[in-house]
Subunit: 467 residues, 3 copies
């Protein structure tokens, strides 16, 4: 896996023509495709006045906008501020963390509206969109933000855009297989978003393995203030996760229940994370890396089951376990993955998304398999699992089996897709930086020449070589 | 009040076994208690499909989730980002501010769900929870965050957890006395949250008085960036306070009115705070401590009366006064409390929560006593004060008297509870730091060894002694 | 335009008596005027119980609070955190950016409630307010925050308060002319908020031209961390802009549609901004100034048309164009405006608000002129443009003409008003700082004497002269 082209300073990282070309061509393509395909759904169209009368709706409140818009905005904050700032922990990669996350997410949501639209909202040759489509597009891009965490600081913005394009495509296919073909429930995306996104990203970073990455070791840590910026991301992800897991659940009790389960799971997760963070350090001091990340595992781990009758104490159990698994992962697995498996996982997405995502899929399968009419009520049971039409005959245990199959499909799609996309990203045309310039904003950003840089240079007497 | 054990460097502040033990034992206890007691309320349970039919509800919109969830999320942000970042103003205690606030709040909400559940949502042996319980749990923990402000930087995380456990318990008892026995109105918690939380915290910090605290004087100030981080907390508290005060008010006009009154009060408070901040400084320069804190007093001071017919101009008056009182408090009272009464109040909660909380209780009592059927309408009057059943015969002036009694009860509970809890926290087993190591993250956190620290060390040539 | 009074250090910038006096007098005036005029609207008044029965409303959900409160809170965040933090990019003006924005907005919303109330919510001698009034007050103040961007760092807080007072007044008059006399649609304020606010601010800064501003050139740039703080502002503006443009649209499909159009426009805008930011730099590196600002132009540019049937692809086109125009503006127009026209525009509001605002007005006029009953449906058409009563006979093309007239009126009001207000602010009584002390928090704020300042002083060996 030697990459000799990384050993010189001669790498051309200039984005001057490549990045504008990709962005502009892409935006033109989006405009054309939106022009051909995308229209307002009935509830966002001015014809809704007539629609309301036909459907005998007496109140504007019945518009889906009012059921989902507050949750949508919370999810939106998680994608742009949550993921963006979570990744600012690196001392010299804050612009890249927030800025590239902004770029790839804005790029990805447009493509996701199309891809998911063709699969799920296609009617008479048009994609009809509403607030639920916006949420799903954000969700889809969330899986790209997760994968970005693995390769943070090591790729060019063009690589990120290429990855986004391909990952959104694969995400939509995988989502279609799970939700439509397997008829799996996964409202909070433990499988579709977290398991898929994380193993996809880990496969990509494995393929892009950089043997000389220790050359930028000095830039892989945090500084005091960058850790505080990262906590902004952490807290917004943590606080709004109940909205994430409930955003596309059925109206009424299902949204309500999802929020409660997620709230409980996350609260428990904070306690076990703090416990193990302290326990696993020689001096018993807390480690910000764990607090910033492992506290969120509880949200991932109830992604599938939150809308089911998991119960509050079930959520506490799941949250507790996932906090422990995630923290142990940061201490023991991440170094192992890097040294033995050559998986360089900048943000530790294996601990925050991959393992908790698997837990989430398994908990979802068990919770579904254990469902009874007694617990859900006769109508609630049918509604919760959508056992209607072709699925009328499904039993909970069969549903549990399909849920488990959903995990396997997501994993296979992630590994296969990640390998292909990783191979494409390895082509020497995308302008990625040399190993010694990784984790350094100066490569792709105008960085203010100021006292801060000088402070920085005190410790790195050699000016960082900008190619 | 000499504490000789504070004079050496030999204090054992290692959390390695104590913190994990407390967290894990506690989480196990939570799981058991939740397993025995906590279930979904009707509106979050899958049986709601049937419930809806029985209750003749025609729309999922009637689920309480849609009345309160947006406000809940705003409150959630106030507790975790608002309080967390407000306390990051200290130059070297940002991790502790955000991180310990995160820990104690996540710990506290679980216990609050149980305690408040037993008092208010207990039915047939089960606590039935919904979104209103989540809000109330956040509220309850808010009072702990307030008390945390007084002892910020001077206690170990275990002390914080012990305090949280006991304060949540006392809060719930006090809340039960006020709301159920005295039948007092306090939707925004001027009495239950602010008055109780602040005087509780002040009593605790009095008992934990550290005579040698000037040894860490150099760390008690802010730096330029930490003041900006703190403003994130300030603004989120300020912006979302209308949601805080309206979150658990009656559906409809009461929630609407609470938000308007709070909005007006807070706007006025900013102006009087700025005025007095400038006036009380020799050179007329504004002080960030005032802007970060006293601007919020207007939200505290309408906590009880916001849902009443306080009127917008009444809110302006209350907000104006509370901004003045709070700013004057920072300039004159805080130094007095410390030097004369040995009350070391790190964040000045006496000015932000205690005095404005008292104002809020008094304004609430007056507003209630002044209520008339003319102003509220016949039905609105009964609904606003819940003058039904056993309270059918209550008159406004009697209600005003009970409101006043609520202030006194809250104060007594705070002083007595604070004294007991302070005494417990004084036991030499909790791992608090020596006076010279207060306000220093390095005691309980892995702090990045980086340029920032070195900048810091320039001014503190002696490396901070980590025990 | 020589301003000799700026050439000495002897300028009196002390706010000690002037600022308190203005704030307190003003707040007293507000209390009196609110006392005389402002009351709760029907939906926030306790009489609503009876109102509901009269209007045959069966659910509390019909209260406007539930249609608009979540959007209101998003708008509130945009005004205080969005604008406040967006302007913290300057290395030594973070307190002023966040703090003065806080002051002027809190001051302005009270006056806006009155001014807009007299024009739009006046009934039987009283202004009746509800959540929509709060949103409109925030909107009005948004135009002041925009103008503040042009003069950031160069004015005293008193000048800002005077400007706020006068600008809110003029805004309300202009808004009345547009909405009531011309019957123009402008829910997201491309004309009333952005075009008016920006050209007003640009005129003011032209009048206040400082020929010696290069004396504080060293303070006009950003540092690494200040750019990250500014990104907090950017992202909150970007994420919540769909709420901004939909906050006061008609219930139902119109709010839904506005959010979708704005979401699409903003996503496209990010891509074209990144493309041109990279393309216009010699080394192809991205510039944080563009990412912080031009990415938002897409929200401004659909402000008028978002609630119309602009369609998602139309939004992509508008967003793409505005990102390009705005980025090109930062690179070429801003230096030109400063050197040739003596318009010193600190934040580049010409690029972010003025030009995109004009685009927004024009797009709105075209979209209105192109409206057909076929596209909107018979009832939707009338509802969308409010073609009822006196406006029953309006055709789309006539409406388009009036929309265009709205742009012209907004521009004229901005130029005339800005000239007058600029003239008033030029009086030598407001305590603004000398040119060499611009962009320096130390003039009006107590700045912590800490390591950060020392770092700063390393590069500015002369201590900044505080007058």
């Amino acid at each position: 896996v030697e990459r000799p082209r990384h050993q010189g300073m001669a790498k051309n990282t200039s984005m001057r023509w490549r990045l504008p070309l990709v962005c502009l061509l892409w935006e033109v393509a989006m405009i054309v495709l939106f022009g051909v395909f995308v229209r307002f759904g009935a509830e966002a169209d001015a014809h809704w006045e007539e629609e309301k009368q036909e459907m005998n709706l007496t109140s504007d409140m019945e518009n889906d906008f009012y059921f989902r818009y507050p949750s949508f905005q919370d999810v939106h904050v998680m994608i742009f501020v949550g993921f963006g700032f979570l990744m600012t922990f690196l001392k010299r990669y804050g612009f890249g963390a927030v800025g590239f996350n902004f770029l790839l997410a804005a790029f990805g949501i447009q493509w996701a509206l199309l891809m998911q639209g063709w699969f799920h909202s296609f009617k008479d040759g048009k994609i009809l969109i509403g607030v639920e489509n916006l949420i799903n597009a954000d969700f889809c891009v969330g899986s790209v933000c997760i994968a970005f965490g693995a390769i943070l600081g090591k790729t060019s913005p063009i690589q990120l855009l290429v990855m986004t394009l391909l990952q959104v495509t694969l995400f939509s296919v995988n989502e279609y297989i799970l939700l439509n073909l397997l008829h799996v429930k996964d409202a909070g995306g433990s499988m579709t978003i977290h398991t898929f996104g994380a193993y996809f990203g880990l496969t990509v970073t494995r393929i892009l393995y950089r043997p000389n990455l220790e050359q930028s070791k000095d830039k892989q840590g945090s500084v005091y203030h960058s850790d505080l910026f990262a906590m902004i991301g952490t807290l917004y992800l943590w606080m709004y996760w109940p909205s994430f897991n409930s955003a596309i659940s059925d109206h009424g009790d299902a949204q309500h229940r999802s929020a409660i389960n997620t709230y409980c799971s996350l609260a428990a997760c904070v306690l076990t994370t703090m416990a193990f963070s302290s326990m696993l350090q020689k001096k018993g001091k807390l480690d910000m890396v764990h607090i910033q990340n492992a506290t969120l595992a509880g949200g991932v781990a109830v992604g599938t089951s939150a809308e089911m009758m998991l119960t509050p104490y079930g959520s506490l159990i799941v949250g507790s376990i996932s906090g422990i698994v995630s923290t142990v992962g940061y201490v023991y697995f991440t170094p192992f993955l890097e040294s033995r498996l050559h998986i360089q996982d900048t943000c530790g997405i294996h601990n925050l998304h991959a393992m908790p995502g698997l837990i989430g899929g398994i908990v979802g399968a068990i919770t579904a398999a254990a469902a009874t009419e007694d617990v859900y009520g006769k109508e609630g049971f049918i509604k919760a699992f959508d056992f209607t039409g072709a699925y009328q005959a499904r039993t909970p245990s069969i549903q549990g089996g399909f849920q488990a199959a959903g995990i396997v499909v997501s994993l296979l799609m992630a590994f296969a897709g990640g390998a292909i996309v990783g191979g494409i990203l390895k082509l020497p045309i995308w302008g990625d930086a040399a190993a010694e310039n990784c984790f350094e904003d100066g490569v792709y950003w105008e960085v203010p020449e100021d006292e801060e840089s000088d402070v920085y240079h005190m410790h790195n007497p050699e000016k960082p070589a900008s190619p």
